[in-house]
């Protein structure tokens, strides 16, 4: 029996041939971007030595490029960019609160732990 009390959000996702064309174009653009970023990362990783003067810059640009890649994957490939703002906030806000806090607290603890070992011995 057809139920009229359920809204089939699943059916809303359909799109036409023309819309599909522009969606595919966007997908290939993002693919090119992600591949280019990965290639840049590998070249930088292979040629710039750890501990050299440029390394601090290289390290932070690796992290920045990783976040850019992640943002494109989540927003385009996972379609989160096209979802309702409600849903975007529901997913992203709790995630960032927890992850930023855990990064801050654990790395701070880690370096304090390392310092303590170096100062007082293992």
């Amino acid at each position: 029996m057809e139920r009229d009390d359920i809204i089939e959000y699943s059916l809303d996702a359909h799109h036409s041939e023309e819309a599909g064309k522009s969606v595919r174009k966007k997908i290939w653009q993002v693919t090119a971007l992600l591949s280019a970023i990965t290639a840049i990362e590998v070249v930088m990783g292979a040629f710039i030595k750890h501990g050299s003067g440029a390394w601090v810059f290289v390290k932070w640009s690796f992290i920045a490029m990783t976040v850019v890649k992640a943002a494109y994957i989540v927003s385009v490939f996972m379609h989160l960019g096209e979802e309702k703002r409600n849903l975007r906030n529901l997913i992203l806000i709790p995630y960032f609160i927890f992850i930023l806090y855990i990064i801050f607290i654990i790395l701070l603890e880690g370096s304090a732990y390392g310092d303590a070992l170096r100062t007082y011995g293992a």
Binding site: D5, I27, W28, S35, T66, I73, V74, L87, I106, G114
Partner: protein, 345 residues
Amino acid sequence: MAGHATNEINSATAWGGKISPFNVSYGKLMMWFFLTSDALTFGGFLVAFGFARFGAQEAWPIGEQTFNALPFLGGGFPLVYVALMTFLLILSSVTMVLAVEAGHRMDKKGVTRWLFATIVGGLFFVGSQAWEWSHFIHGTDFGRVELADGSMAIVTADEFGAIQNFTVTKAGKHHQVNQVITSKDTDLLHDYQHAAAAGHLNGDIITLHDGSEARVSKAADKNMELIIKKKGSENEIGKVISGPEASAAYYGAIQSGKANKVIYGANLTQNEYGPKVYANYFFFITGFHGFHVSIGILLNIIVFINVLKGTYQRRGHYEMVEKTGLYWHFVDLVWVFVFTFFYLI
């Protein structure tokens, strides 16, 4: 009236299973919740890895020194293999999103084609990871050596001088004096490394498993260098020893007849490339990710079978492809971070 539903509340404002404030179906919402919690799990692992690194007392392994080999071609290709793996996983993410797009147009043929490509890409990725693990576990020809002053060094060289044969000098259970043991009889490198790790190398004399002793004939190494990774009484971290001095320090250590002067490869109790905890995290995090990829392949295969059977065509939408797609992109997303923190930084 008790027991009777009324229509007093406008069904557009009440969320009694009818209108979702998020405008997505139940299944998709739950997939997002799961992925958020899984992302926090992986975030926790990677942060714990950072904790170990920040507290480490010896040099942390450097990606381009540790992961520089290609299948069939050997070493000298820093990061190339893992870059190919990363690219492969990104591509399989692309084919997945193309399958989802085809699903939105109810194009069964398109979904079939792209989903199949995704499964193949995933299988190649897991296979590559298996090779990477095997390489990491077996280690290099030289291993990691503890020098006379207690410092630890990794070895780089253009070439490891091949071991040609063992000439028996003292008979044991299986070998007679003057017998020449070649690569036809045994894996010479394997025996040599075993003896080195167990302290059964004394100068160029090796003590074999059966108690016999033999003279090792080995070609010279090409351009060997030692890089200090753990400080000793003389050598500081980062010091590079090269030339004849490197060779003397290296062979002086592994041919001293003392056990545990050299470590080959990595496992849960020892690690050639750096601190033991690095190997533990490597196996745990890349293993947990590989497990996710394997589960993803399984889910994709199940959905693929349903696509072939026309289940989703009859249902009127391909949302199931979208939901497993979300999971698959998530796996790719995690790898992007693993790639950065294990291999690049």
